[in-house]
């Protein structure tokens, strides 16, 4: 008789931790200890922080990485909270919608460093304490994560299938229950995808967020970002290498412990099986499902939600299409009038604020800089497309290659551009190259991968029959690209290019200026202008810079990307 079978049979009905439980215990307690340790630093004072400078010793990186990861996690939680409230309000209230959605569109197109003008506010909340600086840092990371998540959730709420909405209403689900049972599960798959993109975006800006430098206000919070900033200042290549390694480990941990289980779980939320590239096997998910300890925890969470369901048990659900009565029309009118008034006041105030120091000529100059950056983004997107579309199609048609390429590209998308400064700056200085041209590739370094991702997904979604038909009729070479591959991936490509373009504008702030020790290279462009303005603590010029950039991005989206996307959807989408 085989003994190894016996215990499981005997023990099945008793609460005895299994192997998965041990693993879950270890992980949960490690997490708690690490949170406690990282939170300890919050209570200190800023002077204490200055007394313990950042160390470039590799051993110090373990603690730094933990702090950075915790900040990103908190920012992610804040982003989720923001998503659930802001997007829900926008989707449910007609009056809120007309303000919140355009606002979100603009927030999304603001360069993240532009938000650094809020740092002073956070520092003033807790004078002399680290807590305020930490809040400012988390807020900066939050601004790189929240907007696209909120947009994704808003779109999901607006596209809830009609029959599920009717079922929920006819069974009289309370708003609270409807939210957790219908809306959140339905919105989950695209939201998780956006959370992953947001995490990458967060890494990209973590260096700027941790090493706060506003002219006379300098705060350096312990973390990977500050470590990298110091390594760049001291031209320590070894330290840069260690930082890359630490980042890689943290990204791997997030991927394994957070995103893979989420994706695995979200697979259950999908309405139908869709072609997706995301991996859905996850050992951590298996652990969560098999571990009884985590089972108890999750049941606790569910029963807390259930209390919410019961507390709001009897709710009268009104039909949707109630006619608007005169009172509501008056309310609408007052509401629009109020918004218009606030808008006018804000405009006047902003103009007064900016033009006390800045001339109209300078604004014109800034717009000119915007065109320079526009030129760079356009050329770079074109070059990146020429490179990555063929490669993406090649990879997408080969699932095995895709499985290898996908996680690598995901890591590269999260790679902070600052880590490349040493190579680029040394290269430009040694080769006596023109920074206006040779700094540009930095802009697309992190964002080109979105083109690759989307083209891979598009190519893998080409129906086999279509490919067979191509082979059957001997469609080869350029004809194959022109008639089959490119049209099939076009809508996916456009989606990727929109993300890449928006991201590149944003990245221009950290890419048009590069430092390596005392060596400082600058290209002329809107990004460099904003970077200079924030670096010297010049609020007015920061505001002018980010407003011009937001205008460029919004106008570009409206007149170019959105029509192109609509056309691609109509003409090329299969089914």
């Amino acid at each position: 008789m085989r003994l190894d079978r016996l215990p499981t049979l005997v023990l099945r009905n008793r609460f005895v931790p299994g192997g998965w439980d041990v693993l879950a215990f270890v992980l949960v307690f490690a997490f708690l200890i690490y949170v406690a340790g990282a939170a300890h630093g919050l209570t200190g004072s800023l002077s204490m922080l200055e007394a313990t400078p950042i160390s470039l010793a590799p051993s110090a990186l373990v603690g730094y990485a933990a702090r950075t990861a915790l900040r990103m996690l908190i920012a992610m939680l804040a982003s989720l909270l923001f998503t659930f409230t802001y997007a829900t309000l926008a989707a449910k209230s007609r009056r809120a919608e007309i303000v919140l959605v355009p606002l979100l569109d603009i927030l999304q197109s603001l360069p993240i460093l532009g938000f650094s003008i809020t740092i002073v506010f956070f520092l003033s909340l807790t004078p002399g304490r680290v807590a305020g600086a930490e809040m400012a840092c988390v807020f900066l990371i939050f601004t790189s994560q929240a907007w696209n998540m909120a947009f994704s959730f808003y779109h999901s709420l607006r596209s809830i299938p009609h029959e599920l909405d009717e079922a929920a209403r006819s069974f009289r689900l309370s708003p609270w229950m409807r939210f957790w049972r219908l809306e959140v599960p339905f919105a989950m798959p695209p939201l998780i995808w956006n959370m992953m993109m947001s995490m990458s975006g967060g890494w990209f800006f973590v260096v700027a967020a941790e090493a706060i430098d506003l002219g006379n206000t300098k705060v350096t919070l312990p973390g990977v970002g500050s470590y990298v900033a110091l390594a760049i200042e001291q031209r320590n290549l070894g330290a840069i290498g260690w930082a890359i390694a630490a980042m890689f480990v943290v990204i791997l941990i997030f991927d394994q412990l957070l995103f893979r289980p989420l994706i695995g779980g979200a697979d259950w939320f999908r309405l139908e099986q869709e072609a997706g590239l995301m991996p859905s096997n996850s050992w951590a998910l298996t652990m969560m499902r098999r571990s009884r300890f985590l089972g108890v925890v999750s049941r606790l969470f569910v029963s807390i939600l259930n209390i919410g369901f019961k507390a709001r048990g009897q709710v009268v659900v009104r039909p949707r299409d109630l006619p608007r009565n005169p009172g509501q029309r008056l309310g609408d009118f007052l509401w629009y009038a109020l918004i218009a008034l606030i808008g006018v006041i804000a405009l006047v105030k902003a103009v007064q604020f900016v033009f006390t120091e800045i001339t109209l000529a300078e604004v014109g100059h800034v717009v000119g800089l915007g065109f320079l950056t526009f030129l760079r983004v356009g050329i770079l997107i074109a070059i990146a497309s020429a490179i990555w579309v063929p490669i993406g199609v090649y990879v997408g048609l080969r699932p095995r290659v895709a499985n290898i390429v996908q996680p690598i590209a995901q890591f590269l998308a999260a790679f902070p551009v600052n880590l490349i400064y040493p190579i680029v700056v040394s290269g430009i200085v040694l080769g006596k190259l023109n920074p206006d041209i040779w700094l540009s590739p930095l802009m697309i370094l992190g964002t080109q991968w979105y083109i690759l991702f989307n083209v891979i997904v598009g190519a893998s979604a080409i129906p086999p029959d279509m490919r067979y038909a191509g082979q059957n009729f001997h469609v080869r070479g350029w004809l194959w690209w022109k008639r089959i591959a490119l049209p099939a991936v076009f809508p996916f490509y456009v989606t990727g290019a929109i993300t890449a373009s928006g991201g590149s504008w944003n990245a221009s702030v950290v890419s048009e200026v590069a430092e390596w020790g005392q060596e400082r290279l600058q290209a002329s462009g809107l990004g460099a202008y904003i970077s200079h303005a924030t670096g010297t603590g010049d609020f007015r010029r920061t505001v002018v810079g980010i407003v011009v950039m937001a205008l460029f991005v919004v106008v570009l989206n409206r007149v170019f990307w959105k029509p192109l996307y609509a056309r691609a959807e109509r003409k090329f989408r299969m089914s």
């Binding site: 006819s170 069974f171 259930n306 369901f309 659900v317």
Partner: protein, 445 residues
Amino acid sequence: MNVNSTNLGHAMNLAPLLDVQSVCKSFRKPDGDELVVLENVNLTLRPGEIVGLLGRSGSGKSTLLRAIAGLELPSGGKVNYLGKPVEGPAAGIAMVFQSFALFPWLTVLENVKLGLEALGHPEVDTRSRSLKAIDLIGLDGFESAYPRELSGGMRQRVGFARALVVHPNILLMDEPFSALDILTAETLRNDFLDLWGEGQLPIKSVLLVTHNIEEAVQMCDRLLIFSTHPGRVVSEIAIDLPHPRHALDPRFRALVERVYVEMTSKPRGDRTGHKAERFPGTGIGTTLTHVSSNLLSGLLEAVSEPPYNGHADLPAIAEALSMDVDELFPVAEALQLLRLAEIEGGDIKLTREGSEFVKAETDERKRLFARHLLTYVPLAAHVRRVLDERASHSAPKSRFFDELEDYMNEEAAEQTLRTIISWGRYAEAFAYDDARQAFSLENPA
């Protein structure tokens, strides 16, 4: 009150569960005019009966069902449930959906529990009642399955269990079997009727929306037949065949025939004094249902062949082609509109041109079709006239779309234009470029 309250014989003596009085539903079009989809509908539902609402798509029967479910408010008239007006989803009315409307992220058990949880029932009670409902509807063993793991028939069983578990007085069914294959639908219908006949279902009466005539005759005690554009009750047929009913029973066949006759007869009354657009083919504002030219010639050919030889009974041909009313009627009506066939008293008869069409070769068919299209379909003639008059021989789609919107809603206008484009292309009467969204007279050489 009679103890045996589910027994049909006593239904008429009991107080009504539901009372619908002169309900109207109309939508406001962009230009401010009203578009009427439901006109002056009356309906009483008593305990113990299954009432069927039978009509084509666009007859407003689903709109009526949603008004009763409290999902949409009628524009006029009253819906009273147990003597009180319905102002939102009511506690005693549950619905089974055509597309099942199950929550894909909830298991069978969780889906079924949902309605009770929303009512705030205690967990123990919720669980035992849900398990009982699952058991009753034949889903035992599938409690922990997710909807995606189930076949269509099993999914709809979950839909039934979810509705039954709240013990509703009225069960609303919105074409519950139409998304299933014939065999599965048959099984599910019979299972439901068995449980109903045995008095095992915790419901008092049923309101069934369907476009399947045989299904309606098999299940219902009473049928209300709806006309289209606008939806009105044109007749009511009582069905007093004993259960179980057999489709081959001559009395069953006679009833099916009678329903066909009712559904194909021209609307009675008010022929005068109303907009001319209501009658097929008399104005450009006629809503056209999209029917491909393949289907048109297919039906013409089927009717011309033996044993019909140009004159067929609609129920018979529907069965021979295994098409249901919603598929067959639009084709037959399109043929009538084009004067290629006539429909009267549940029969379809080819016209002389219809017979000619069948005998003709492709090119000649197209010529004949083009002649009839431009003669009898005013919108097609209108499009052609506009294209002829313009120097450029082209016109944007939006031009005609805006015109149509004076007569119908956006969706119907879109569909009508799609039909005209498809027929015009087949007839080679005019061309359409989707990328430019424009009609023209150019044909790619």
